[in-house]
Amino acid sequence: MKARVTVTLKNGVLDPQGKAIEGALQSLGVDGIANVRQGKVFDIELDTADKAKAEASLKAACEKLLANTVIENYRVEIA
């Protein structure tokens, strides 16, 4: 079973990296970019076919390590 975990900054948390990327896009002349927030993607393979078990493992992974919930949200998608 495969899953994708996306970790993004919570609303209201300043994202200087996103701002720098936004500025770089503007200086490259890419039109129509209003705002950029950056984050992380984790592609994870699980050694179980049990979806509930996979969900529990992924939640634990996010809470324990992948996201710092002081500043970040996470989203889990199981393929």
Partner: protein, 232 residues
């Protein structure tokens, strides 16, 4: 007084901390991150600066979950002293020993320069050799030192006197210009609730000898050593 300096893969300031502690009169041992116990009789644990695990995932995130951190948490819970410097501060935040997080510097630059800090209180084991309000001359060297916490946490830190140091100018004025990484409330270091855990971004271990420009940093280590009776 016995100190243990924890070494993670990618730590690089353990030698300087070791030297500073010895100069101040402490016995010092290095402890590898995979250890599950601290050396017997450890009074102080130091998490030194560096780039543990290459700053992968988030600064301090992986080190904050290393085996030795359970022993460090237990030591802190017993009231034992813990000092985290730079990456060590990031590790303390990631391990849950201190609140908040150190984010990318607001100007996105790695900063590396001499820095004055205002000593917010001098009644702790870490700062008794300083005067309250003193501007001490140390160094900073980091890319992620922008202290960030939610409003509730920030109010608690301020209300309970848990801010240890703030970035200031040579006269001790806490100014926006002196706060080069953009930290909330110019916070350079914070204490735990019981004042036995200190995390700070600046490097006191850099300024421990006149040969390299000053000794303001040494006083922090001397404060710690003076908190314990001398070995017979």
């Amino acid at each position: 007084m016995k100190s243990a300096v924890v070494v993670f893969p990618g730590s690089n300031r353990e030698g300087d901390v070791l030297r500073a502690l010895k100069l101040a009169g402490s016995d010092v041992q290095k402890v590898w991150h995979a250890e599950t116990e601290l050396p017997k009789g450890t009074d102080l644990v130091v998490l030194p600066g560096g780039f543990s695990y290459g700053d992968y995932l988030r600064c301090g995130a992986i080190a904050g979950r290393a085996a030795v951190m359970d022993a460090v948490r237990a030591h802190a819970a017993r009231g034992g002293l813990v000092l985290g410097i730079c990456n060590g501060f990031q590790i303390l935040c990631e391990s849950g020993l201190l609140p908040g997080i150190l984010m990318r510097n607001a100007n996105l630059r790695f900063i590396c320069h001499r820095q004055f800090l205002k000593v917010e209180r001098n009644d702790t084991a870490f700062t008794k050799a300083y005067a309250k309000g003193q501007a001490i001359d140390v160094c900073v060297a980091h890319g992620e030192g922008n202290y960030t916490a939610d409003v509730e946490t920030l109010n608690r830190l301020e209300g309970e006197g848990l801010v240890a140091f703030r970035y200031c100018d040579a006269q001790g004025h806490v100014t926006a210009d002196a706060n080069r990484n953009g930290s909330m409330n110019s916070i350079a270091g914070i204490y735990s609730d019981k004042l036995n855990v200190l995390g700070m971004m600046p490097h006191p271990e850099n300024l421990v000898e006149n040969l390299v420009g000053g000794t303001d940093g040494l006083r922090l280590f001397e404060s710690l050593v003076s908190s314990f009776p001398k070995a017979a």
